[in-house]
Symmetry: C2
Subunit: 464 residues, 2 copies
């Protein structure tokens, strides 16, 4: 990764103005800056010049206006759990930490929606929903903030049934580059009233505006849920089970693939004793009869592909334990190489190409020396590689880059995407032209210029 | 409606160039122009200066480039079934008729998607899908073109279960204002790779680019389907049945309200003998047991609200007859006033406000002299009014405008939208600021300037 050009220090009048406005909630301390200039990946930290802890949309707007007067970049910060360098202050500037904006503003149980501040995390929202009979399904590995999840168009294990942040954000409050505050969308379930600003800001990674509040869809907790684990003789058999399940239209709620090495990592980290073989995790939601019917049908499909040891978890605590293990997979993998860092990548392909894509990827993995785990949301055609590296080891980094390039090129050749849910950040900018073509990227650049003419909102991200 | 300022005739060199390029597929004939300058509503026709019948994306691009050289507006035309004046050539220019671009380019049955040219209609696509076990669910009243449906973010009776064009367009080929052709999106089920251009063009009504091809999601034909009709003592009872069904999370495929006058219109037009009372039409999709379970549950809810005469239609021809009658409701209503025109409007509100919104609307309807039918996709909180008027009668037009204003204001006050599925066009521009606020409309204007700096793509629409 090339070092960016050095940038000038923050102007003193800006520092003074921010300090006056925020008091103790403005910091130039080394450790605070470092914490806000790194993410959960292998990207080398790039600390911002300062961190501003905001407590309201008006305060975010005031910070943006002050920084703009001095042509200083601003970078929104939620939980710090992104993995493509989204948070790195490559041109310096002020990190706006929204984690203190963590109030659930309204739960409209009868309309199946909730409005939250951007710093509310997915687990916090689900805690707040206890007793309402509703839940929020989007669940990336980390307990990310909903603002950050909107910014990266996050998804997770439930997306195969409930969609991603694209489908589940209804409305937003956004601070624009000039400090104006707008509302996008609304609480009607659908609308044909003008350009879809909500979906323009979802996935824009803080480069077009800063999300400060959002309204998301909720779902009734299903009458019945059951989860199952099933092992397979090889990855191909597991993937073909997934493909057939999806093509038959079974409304499975979750269907996750984990390869043998991921199971090893999970067993060590989560003290489980799951067979260390290619495995599918399933979950079914619906009425009691619908769940039983779906489960039986999928078990039959799995059996035809050599699936065995179907283990059921219908009690809530068993299900929770299983899915907690799945959510911890990323962190479990990290433990396999103490002192190492993860180079995570994710791609997504049309389901018909998934078996071929994963088989060819596994052939690549056999050619490198570093440990690599493969797992993911295969019901969507989306899978992850977690490549464990010592960032100081050039050979390991070169192998990781090679694997990343190979898997992305293959996904693109199969009409897929270079990232299903992690986002572009810094790490995948180089694939944007190959995925979208010059014309579409030019349109994205025109949108960026239209909404952020001075290039101050999280500069250097997404656009090559 | 005010007449626009007169516009200059088409420059002769442009006419010559278009004629040379298109031959017989370029027309300045009166009847062709008139046909392309009117829609299915009460808006006074505004014919374009000429009509160009395009046969490929390259040809659309060439027409756009030629028109741009001469600063002449272009207006995309699909099936001509829009209802808010979307097609009217308020600043003259060339209507680009895409109805000849009607090839189904690819059906990827294993991936549950299809790629079509923009002129393919929804019924044509479903014909092409026969034998694949798949269907395309989005069904506005008319047999609209898929390009036009994308442009207006259309939905229909199935949206409560399958979403709208927003959720069901995966990728597009779009001709930009400068004649460049771009691809947006892709065939992966999800992606976090940059700005969501697909959803920016969906709903943009031809003002940001011209959709020439699109890839849409398909769904497996359910194992079982059953439809039912149930009458209620009043509209309120029917609406409360809908609200409870949605709030309980029943995955109903269709749930449509029709008021008594709409039933009268339908009986006359479709030769049916349905009771002329407030009625719900239902449809359930799923496995045989799931359908039976859902139907029984909803019947019970309906019973608690005084619903009676639950009539089932499980045989395909019965179901088809029922839904054909529903789809023909708009045209059926028109027949109630021979020689009249329809002033259709649609709004959408959060489901918790639906009963109150419809009750207050019915109180308004009692105050006017003109016949007005109320029906719609109430599972989404979306309903239509079809106001029958003689456009030459000032009193009737004033009453229609009053009703439209009242219902929209009420929907906006309830955090709803001024249009659930018809779009803005000319007719609802005046509500854009009230719905979105100055800031959000300014952002939309900035997007328009960024992508169409000369204001040549369907000018005068959406933005006030």
């Amino acid at each position: 990764m090339t070092r960016p050009a050095p940038h000038p220090p923050l102007p003193e009048p800006l520092v003074a103005a921010l300090r006056e406005r925020l008091g103790q909630r403005f910091s130039q301390g080394e450790s605070v800056r470092l914490q806000h200039g790194r993410d959960e990946s292998v990207h080398a930290p790039e600390p911002p010049d300062a961190v501003a802890f905001a407590e309201s949309p008006d305060e975010v707007a005031a910070i943006v206006r002050l920084c703009r007067e001095h042509r200083v970049p601003v970078i929104p910060y939620g939980a710090g759990s992104s993995v493509e360098g989204h948070l790195l202050a490559v041109r310096g500037g002020v990190s706006i930490d929204l984690s203190g904006m963590n109030r659930v503003l309204a739960i409209h149980a009868e309309d199946l929606d909730a409005t939250v501040q951007a710093g509310v995390t997915r687990k916090q929202l689900n805690e707040a929903l206890k007793g309402t009979g509703l839940f929020f399904p989007i669940d990336p590995g980390a307990d990310a903030s909903l603002g950050g999840m909107a910014a990266t168009r996050a998804s997770g294990t439930n997306a195969v049934r409930y969609g991603t942040m694209r489908e589940n954000v209804m409305a937003m409050t956004v601070v624009l580059a000039d400090g104006r505050i707008i509302r996008t969308g609304g609480r009607a379930k659908k609308s044909s009233a003008g350009y879809d600003l909500t979906r323009l800001f979802v996935g824009s990674e803080g480069t077009l505006g800063i999300v400060t509040e959002l309204t998301v869809r909720l779902y009734p907790v299903p009458e019945a849920m059951s989860a199952a684990v099933c092992t397979f003789p090889d990855v191909d058999a597991a993937v073909n089970t997934v493909i057939q399940t999806i093509q038959m239209g079974v409304p499975v709620a979750r269907i996750e693939l984990l390869d043998a090495l991921t199971l090893t990592a999970i067993n060590r980290f989560s003290k489980t004793t799951l067979p260390e073989r290619p495995t599918l995790f399933f979950e079914f939601h619906g009425s009691a009869t619908a769940v039983a019917e779906q489960a039986e049908f999928v078990q039959q499909i799995a059996g035809e592909h050599g699936g065995e040891h179907f283990q059921w978890a219908t009690r809530p605590e068993e299900r929770t334990r299983l899915w907690q293990a799945r959510h911890d997979a990323y962190f479990a993998c990290l433990q396999l190489k103490p002192g190492g860092r993860a180079f995570p990548t994710d791609v997504c392909v049309p389901i018909s190409r998934l078996a071929e894509c994963i088989a060819a990827t596994n052939a690549d993995l056999a050619q490198v020396s570093i440990p690599i785990m493969l797992f993911g949301h295969v019901g969507d055609g989306n899978f992850h590689l977690v490549v464990l590296v010592d960032p100081a080891n050039e050979k390991e980094m070169a192998e990781a880059e090679w694997i990343n390039e190979r898997v992305v090129e293959r996904a693109l050749a199969m009409e897929g995407t270079c990232t299903g849910e992690h986002g572009i950040g810094l790490g995948k900018k180089k694939f944007m032209l190959r995925e979208h073509g010059d014309g579409a990227v030019d349109v994205m650049r025109a949108l960026k210029r239209a909404l952020d003419p001075d290039d101050l909102l999280n500069p250097g991200k997404i656009l090559p």
